[in-house]
Amino acid sequence: MPDTVLFYVFSAVAVGASLLVIGQRNPMYSIMLLIASFGALSALYIQLDAPFVAMAQIIVYAGAIMVLFLFVVMLLNAPHEDAAQWDRAHPLRHPGVTRFGALLATLLTVQLVWALLRMSDAGAAVGARGDVSELTSVRSLGRVLFTDYMFAFEATSVLILVAMVGAVVLAARQEQR
């Protein structure tokens, strides 16, 4: 029973905070709300008996990536996001980019609803597996990453390396000028 209550509390925080992230005009507030949302998500992971994933979520997203976000926002020091000039216009008169975005959002919603409807009977199978102790879960996670998902894992790391090299090249070019 308390588990269920906690689940709904954390889910409400996650969803509510995420919604508010989009609603804010101040990017600083958006970042703080996003961190709150990440925190709630990691609480949900803990409820799923995945403490390692929960902590990784906090360390990587809330602890590192959001600090970088904050850093950039502070450097730009843009306290308010300006309202677009077409904000008051009829939805159909908005520029193509926003209309395309709206289309994508609608598609995503449809997809989500479809997935959730399918999930309802798949959930039972996951729950039946039972919990695994912490170390075995970290160990098995590592093993799976370096065997079954080896290619995806290495490809991701190369991708990140490419992004890093790209950033360095861009920064160095600006310095030469």
């Binding site: 600083m28 403490p51 390692f52 360390i59 809330a62 600090v67 904050l70 502070m74 170390l135 970290v138």
Partner: protein
């Protein structure tokens, strides 16, 4: 009393005691810092309040409580209030996963032993790391919301510094975790029980000397202590991120800093110095005294360094972090992995 009730009461007592000790640690450290600084500068330090100035922290707290609370006109109301709260909450919460004593039955009072420490989490190392890394938001938000150039610069420096040193810090942690084969601080400590050749304690300090040095240096940078206290840097930034703060809101920042120092030292003790393991005292169920002494030793070193080493330049800090400390910690990690593979095979 029934066992279950007794157990509950004792567990609550342990949690309360830990909280109380942490609050007092910050007060005591302020006094210790001023006394040691006085000693190093050949003067007395606080002397007038209480015997040998022992009640000075109390006087400081009273003074801070009764000061007027100011908020700059251009400051962001919500974030300005939130910042010190975030700082101090993260500092307190991080200690929750740190064990500080062996299992005990309180001289046969309980049937099954209870563990000394707030919570025994099986990913304790990660919990401590995750929560301490949240502390940076307090400083960054304080810097941004004050709407002052000095504060903003302090906050910016803090975020860059934390990001740079967290990597080396985490990599040093990973080496110890590999040696112990567990993410739980309690099992890391228990893996260090006993002696080599009958007299050298099996502390990871002796297996990981480089890791320990990296951990301590990165720890100083993480807690924003001198010689890495750039977010404050009095000479350049007035007081850095907390320039605009006054009264209790101000008091929370140093408190968070001192509690973070304590947590850092406690984790170092658990990871490298064998926690509560030590000769004699452990046999009488007083292992936690060893723990306190080791933590005190590291804290003394913290203060010692602050008053003897001048502050670096900011670019030197970044250079040192990325070009020396991080590669060193990665090499240390690889060497440790090789060592384990060689001896296990």
């Amino acid at each position: 009393m029934e066992q279950a009730t007794l157990r509950f009461v004792i567990q609550l007592g342990i949690i309360g005691l830990t909280f109380f000790m942490l609050i007092n640690a910050s007060a005591l450290l302020v006094l210790a810092e001023r006394k040691i600084m006085g000693f190093m500068q050949q003067r007395y330090g606080p002397y007038l309040v209480g015997p040998h100035g022992l009640l000075q922290p109390l006087a400081d707290i009273l003074k801070l409580l009764f000061k007027e609370e100011l908020r700059p006109k251009g400051a962001d109301k919500w974030l300005f209030t939130l910042a010190p709260i975030v700082s101090v909450t993260a500092a307190f919460a991080a200690f929750a996963a740190v064990p500080w004593g062996a299992e005990t039955t309180f001289f046969g009072l309980l049937d099954t032993p209870v563990k000394l420490g707030v919570a025994d989490v099986n990913v304790a190392v990660l919990v401590v790391f995750a929560i301490t890394s949240m502390g940076v938001y307090g400083i960054v938000l304080a810097g941004w919301s004050s709407n002052s150039k000095y504060s903003l610069l302090g906050g910016l420096r803090s975020s860059a510094q934390m990001i740079s040193y967290e990597l080396a810090y985490a990599t040093a942690l990973a080496s110890v975790i590999m040696l112990a084969g567990s993410l739980s601080l309690r099992s890391v400590v228990d893996a260090q029980a006993g002696y080599w050749f009958g007299f050298i304690p099996r502390w990871y300090l002796f297996l990981q000397p480089i890791g320990f040095i990296i951990y301590v240096i990165a720890g100083v940078a993480e807690t924003n202590r001198a010689p890495f206290d750039f977010p404050e840097a009095e000479q350049e930034l007035v007081a850095g991120y907390n320039t605009e703060y006054s009264s209790v809101r101000f008091a929370l920042f140093p408190q968070a800093e001192y509690i973070n120092m304590t947590t850092m030292s406690a984790v170092a003790t658990d990871l490298y110095l064998g926690g509560w393991h030590g000769p004699l005292l452990e046999r009488w169920g007083l292992g936690w005294v060893w723990f306190l002494m080791k933590v005190g030793l590291i804290l003394f070193a913290y203060i010692w360094v602050r008053w003897t080493v001048p502050r670096y330049r900011y670019d030197q800090l970044m250079q040192f972090g990325w070009k020396w400390l991080f590669p060193a910690s990665v090499l240390n990690l690889i060497a440790t992995a090789g060592f384990i593979l060689y001896f296990d095979a």
